[in-house]
Amino acid sequence: MSTANEIRQTFFQECDELLEALDDGLCEIDEGIADESFDLETVNAVFRAVHSIKGGAAAFGLDALVHFAHQFETVLDVMRAGELTPNDDVMKVCHRAADHLSDLVAAGRDNEIVEGDLGTEIAAKLSGLVVGSESAKPDNDTESETFGFVPLGLPIPTNTDDEDQELALNRFCVRFTPSAGLYTSGNDTSLLFRELAELGELEVTAETDRLPDLKNVDPGESYLSWVVILLTEESEQSLREVFEFVDGLCELQINLDLDATMPEGSPDATKDVDDEAQASSGVAAEESDSPTMVAASSPDSGTERAKPATGPKATVRVNLDLVDRLINMVGELVINQAVLTQCIKDAGLLDRGELSTSLAEFRNLARDIQESVMAIRAQSVKPLFQRMARIVREASELSGKDADFLTEGETTEVDKTIIERLVDPLTHMIRNAVDHGLEPPEQRRAAGKAETGHVKLTAAHRSGRVLIEVSDDGAGINREKVFQIAVEKGLIPGDSILKDAEIDNLLFLPGFSTAKEVSNLSGRGVGMDVVRSAIQKLGGRVSIFSQPGKGTTMSISLPLTLAVLDGMVVDVAGQTMVVPITAIVETLRPKAEDIHPLGADNQVVSVRNKLVPVIDLGVVFGHRRTPAPISDMVLLLVESDGSESWALAVDQIFDQRQVVIKGLETNYGHVPGVAAATILGDGNIALIIDPEETAHRSGPVADVGDRARLEEV
């Protein structure tokens, strides 16, 4: 069984679940205030969560946690007693208490101590809520060794010499009247009795009253019935299972003869019990409701109208290291599969029908395994979003701006590592949204908006990536000011002509900070450039979109996983490179008349009447100096999240396959245009390109002036 240490670990895992339930519950109460409904069961659930955390914490001697949970619990107890009506102010304290509780749990996990007076302050507010309440009286007055409870002895006989001795034998009286149909469908009553006999001691009496005179007997009719007395430790359910196959073909009455239920130590009727029968009936019974349960689920109390427990999720807790090892191995498997394919190809065996079929099956299997393993790592963003709710609360309190926090797509699942690494950048973005995005209440009122601002966090799957957006309904980006600051800081020349979107993106430049004074909140010396580089490290991109007076939206687009991607393996001036399939909209070989020159070195291609700039990857990555003639090349049409498109020119397409992502960040830092690398089937290394970044840094075409010209074409 578990050691104390393992139980401690389980406790903290359980705490996370409880804290989530706590947050959910508090939000539900919030909603209840809005539409003036009050669900006692929700308060109960919230109370239970805090109480359970306290109980566990006490067992592990986490005194600070116990103490605070107790104070919180007292308030909730008063609330569920109906002596404290939840309103916005009360809930604000409760939310902060929940946040602090979560801090204390985290501190307990890391054996740390939470510094500062925050706990004391919240505790004071909590006790302020329950002043003079009846239920809030300390329960110390009942503390004594036995709590005034006199234990009730239970005679348990100890003369149990027989190891297999069971507790009590039930005496069932079964009345069994088969119909003619039972016999015509090939059943045999004696077999049923034999099966019953396996459950315990059996006594069978045949009732022959209905048997007519011999000359009147219809051989196809059923005249007999039986009374069976069975002494067994099995339940009625097991008995009924014996008769399962003749259900509807007989009349069956099963009565438990209570008075005759044999006390322990009665005749050893269990000796005949077949282990196998016992085992199988045990399994079957777990799936069925026993009659006792039906009777028991209706005690006369109000709490029984509790919401049905949400369907039990059968889960296994697995050490993350194991999953990671599995993922690494699957990665190696994918590489190995590529190597194998290459070897077979080199041996000239690929044309052999069977071999290539098996190989394709192998590839599909590897992919299925990989996807299943990824699914293990995938987690919903809900806990992350809940954390952000807290950031909004803190930020709105510190900045004095009221903010409502809305979320969408909480159930979106993303790789665990990505979720973990999103915490910091997202925290920063959310703080920014409240601190810089939303206007102060007076200003909002003047602009004809509601005083309470809105910050919205959404997550969704979009074309093989995860899109996370933080939006506010504030004043939008003050572009004049941003431009001016960028010039002042020497980030751009004063005479630059920038489009709105380009000005907005200046926020991501290192060393940019618009806050005139470093505020307590977002201005912590970390700029949006840090956010951007954190997102880039995850293979993601961040973009910003702002409408004056209406608000700002920041979007993060992320890969679903950090381990594998579907790539198109291409030849770029003799170098093998990989382009993520998810980015490619289509591939084409352009006709000569669709290609138009643009300036000296640049070209655009017309795709369904839309002009798309052509980017020669060979030039971008320095494999050749001037673009190769486009007519000889293949174009990969890629689209950005902001629906800009480019045509990446490559020499040829080799293959489309799954590649294992091997990060370069640790050794090389961020290389513009390169997302990562992979190992190919022949053992060579190929770079995986980031199409959007590549397009943006691709020489003159991305140049501001040229792009403006491009618009006019």
Binding site: A59, P151, G153, L258, A296, S297, P299, E304, A306, A309
Partner: protein
């Protein structure tokens, strides 16, 4: 043969932490026949299948709390004689008096040590 070898106990708690702690304590006492359920209804179902001498149940559980479980046990013909020890984080006279009325055999407050739990069980079933 000692009582601890034959005594069968069903532990009922929705939190796996508390469940594990109780089970660990019971194992330390040398009790061999230990089973557990995650809530009241499944405890009743389990007892219908495999009777036990003693139920050690948490009070604070969603849906059916410990006292409701006790009530249901006392209603059931085959389960009414099963011993019942209630575990709770708080001492509440209301809980205790309801428990007394329903025929609760003993009560223990969380957190407890193994000797405390052992003492509590022995008060009900005699020396282990």
């Amino acid at each position: 043969m000692a009582l601890r070898d034959s005594l069968s106990i069903l532990v009922v708690d929705d939190m796996s932490t508390s469940r594990s702690l109780i089970i660990m304590a019971l194992e330390e006492m040398g009790i061999k026949k230990i089973d557990f359920s995650k809530d009241g209804p499944s405890a009743l179902q389990s007892l219908g299948q495999r009777p036990a001498h003693l139920v050690i149940s948490d009070y604070n559980m969603p849906g059916m709390d410990g006292l409701h479980l006790l009530h249901a046990l006392r209603q059931g013909k085959t389960t009414q004689k099963i011993g019942f020890i209630l575990v709770s984080g708080r001492v509440d006279q209301k809980i205790l008096s309801t428990g007394r009325q329903l025929g609760m055999n003993n009560f223990i407050q969380k957190p407890f040590t193994t000797p405390q739990l052992k003492n509590c069980i022995q008060q009900v079933v005699g020396p282990l």
